[in-house]
Amino acid sequence: MAELLVKMEDIDKSFAGVHALSRARFELYAGEVHALVGENGAGKSTLMKILTGVYSKDSGRIYIKGQEVEIQNPRVAQNLGISIIHQELNLMPHLTVAQNIFIGREPRKGIKFMLDEQELNRRARELLDTIHMDLDPKARVSNLTVAKQQMVEIAKALSIKAEVIIMDEPTSALAEAEIEELFRIIHHLKSEGKGIIYISHRLEELKRVADRVTVMRDGRYIDTVKIGEVTREQIISMMVGREIYETASAGAENSNEVVLEVKNLRRGRTIKDVSFKLKKGEILGFAGLMGAGRTEVARAIFGADPIDEGEIYVKGRKVHIKNPGDAVKHGIGYLSEDRKRYGLALGMDVETNIVMAAFEKFLGLLGWIRQDKTRLEARTRIEELKIKTPTLKQKVKFLSGGNQQKVIMAKWLTRNCDILIFDEPTRGIDVGAKSEIYKLLNELVKEGKSIIMISSELPEILRMSHRIVVMCEGRVTGELSATEATQERIMYYATMR
């Protein structure tokens, strides 16, 4: 049997008011990919943060290669040969790709403190080449898209010659091609005898990469099983403690009323002539590879970025959207793909974030906020979307990723927008929550709302959309109805340059 690299026993951790882990357990052998799954807030990230010295455990023991260790800070973890790709991006946006990858381990020359920038870039280039990443080492990270930033994170973790590599939802921001590349890298690492901890909500991935899977629920250890010996459904029922219902598409039951029409939209080099129509009561899927320009289109329609050319019609009337305020007035809401940067006031409470876009509804005289009303509204939304939060006044930054996403959805539902643009709505969200969101999307369109859903997960696009628009390099290259769409056809258009 291979060497036991990591053994965590009876780990307990509480945050103010939240018991995040109770007697959690985990083991990792050399040369295995060990998946860790659980619902949002199950404590996966917390457990890994304890292993990497970000949080200190309240009690419990950690053994690395049989030795009991105390991991007080991230440096200790690094020295023990543990590296991690955090779920939240942890990059220095003002630094370049290469500088980010080697932060803390910069090559020096001459005296001890002098940097060898050339060597740094060379090594970064080398690393990026070996893992087939198309990134410029000298590019500033703040100029990269989320997907590319995620790749920088991966490169950073791999650059540490670690024996244990933790990946906390590495694929949530990636498209198919990069995911393939990541899997190739994982197989390679595995063959070198490294241990990999793999956290993901995309359960279909597990069969392809993982050897064993550990399931957590409510901060507790549930079970560890060989991946070949369980079905997806079994994993899900271990995760949620109940059977899950996965909705099918609502079917093409929409009217022909066009609520949003975009004509010849252009913006810089990223949007080159985009036209499409959105009908009432329809989910319009937007498919494409990373960087196809879907996010750009969404932002442009929403008025977040200025457009160079093009016309937008809402319910047949031509509108001029110069800023998000205009868009909201015309009943358009936008859920960004990067919820922390663009979606949430992280330091504020759940209630405020929910009513943020619709304060007008709750105002009394002189801008007075009717707090009874906002509280009621927030409470209703929390129940409706099953948002897990201890109180209304909890700061959003302490919620798990999935619940944060639900808070943003609640915000737009409160605003009662008729046209909703969801950019990667299920990114980083567990199966349970995902199915809830699908159900919700279906309910919304039944109520007569119209949805644009941008997603890089083809199964999701295929399952949910009434129609699918495929983009490639800033152009609309194809449009498919739900009945004619298949993965292959979408990929065909998505690569049609």
Partner: protein, 320 residues
């Protein structure tokens, strides 16, 4: 039994207890000075402290709003002076009724704040630079307009009553400060302006993408700050019975310090009016107490510096 323990705990962590504890440093200072000098806790001296806090406190209230957005306003000190000078011009030079002069002075403060807001939100000049410019502009203009001479309110003795008239021994300036603090607290916690104030400081881009007119609200917040320093100018002029055109620079740091000592975070998104009021009092109790104890002036400065750091440190420990 289990229930009791929880109750006890919740009492300790209750809001009221928390708020009382926040006064910690202030109370300690107060007790120490009272024990050290019999003259400290006298009614007259307390009134003196209150009065000394009023102007700086009102400045600090205004700048609290700005700091919560993650911005800064360096023009509050000289802007206050500008408002004072304009009030004096209205009342003494132009012979306008006092009430119009007062409202005019406050509005002149608001105007400065409005211009700050426009430069920051529309021209995208960082708040530090924009308000630094306004600081210099108002400082210079005060001197130009007044002819570098104080303007007195000798013809209008009623003007002095605005700050120095008193109700049962408490000067109006103090009452005005408390009323201003209450209003500021209501605006910050109960109105949409306050909510957007925090939202801007917490995540400006997310706020914009929620369809909120970020530029307009930011301008409104700087304008509000301007109205506060306008009010401070009116009170200052009233207290000195004159507009002193050279005064003002340096006051912004005292006010910002009061807000920051009171727990307002310079990176935005955090702050309370109560904290700012306490911060302002910590500063003036310290100054007054050390004077009462006749500590040599150079040592006063050293001690003040040390205690300010310790007060904030205590607060940090308390919150853990």
């Amino acid at each position: 039994m289990d229930n009791k323990v929880t109750q006890k705990k919740s009492l300790l962590h209750s809001d009221a207890a928390q708020k009382l504890l926040a006064f910690g440093s202030l109370i300690i200072l107060f007790i120490v000075f009272s024990l050290a000098s019999p003259n400290f806790a006298k009614f007259d001296n307390i009134v003196g402290i209150l009065l000394a806090t009023a102007v700086n406190g009102i400045l600090a209230l205004g700048v609290t709003f700005v700091i919560i957005t993650g911005g800064i306003d360096l023009s509050i000190g000289t802007g206050m002076t500008f408002a004072a000078v304009m009030t004096a011009v209205f009342i003494t030079n132009w012979k306008l009724p006092i009430i119009i002069g007062v409202v005019g002075g406050i509005l002149m403060g608001g105007l400065c704040g409005f211009i700050n807001g426009i430069i920051i939100s529309k021209m995208k000049v960082p708040p530090f630079v924009a308000t630094l410019g306004m600081m210099m502009a108002t400082k210079g203009l005060s001197l130009v307009i007044s002819g570098t001479k104080p303007i007195y309110f000798n013809d209008t003795p009623a003007y002095r009553q605005i700050a120095m008239g008193s109700i049962s021994g408490i000067p109006n300036a103090v009452l005005i400060f408390f009323v201003a603090a209450i209003i500021a607290n209501i605006i910050l916690t109960r109105t949409i302006l306050g909510r957007y104030d925090f939202a801007l400081g917490s995540n400006e881009e997310a706020t914009r993408l929620s369809g909120i007119n970020v530029d307009a609200w930011k301008t409104a917040i700087y304008t509000l700050c301007g109205l506060f320093f306008g009010l401070a100018g009116v009170l200052m002029a009233s207290r000195l019975n004159s507009a002193q055109p050279a005064l003002g620079q340096g006051y912004e740091m005292d006010a910002i310090a009061a807000a920051v000592i009171g727990g307002t975070s310079l990176s935005g998104g955090e702050g309370t009016i109560l904290g700012t009021v306490i911060g302002a009092f910590i500063m003036s109790v310290l100054t007054n107490g050390l004077r009462i104890l006749s500590v040599p002036q150079e040592w006063q400065i050293v001690v003040t510096g040390t205690i300010v750091v310790m007060a904030v440190y205590l607060d940090i420990i308390r919150r853990r």
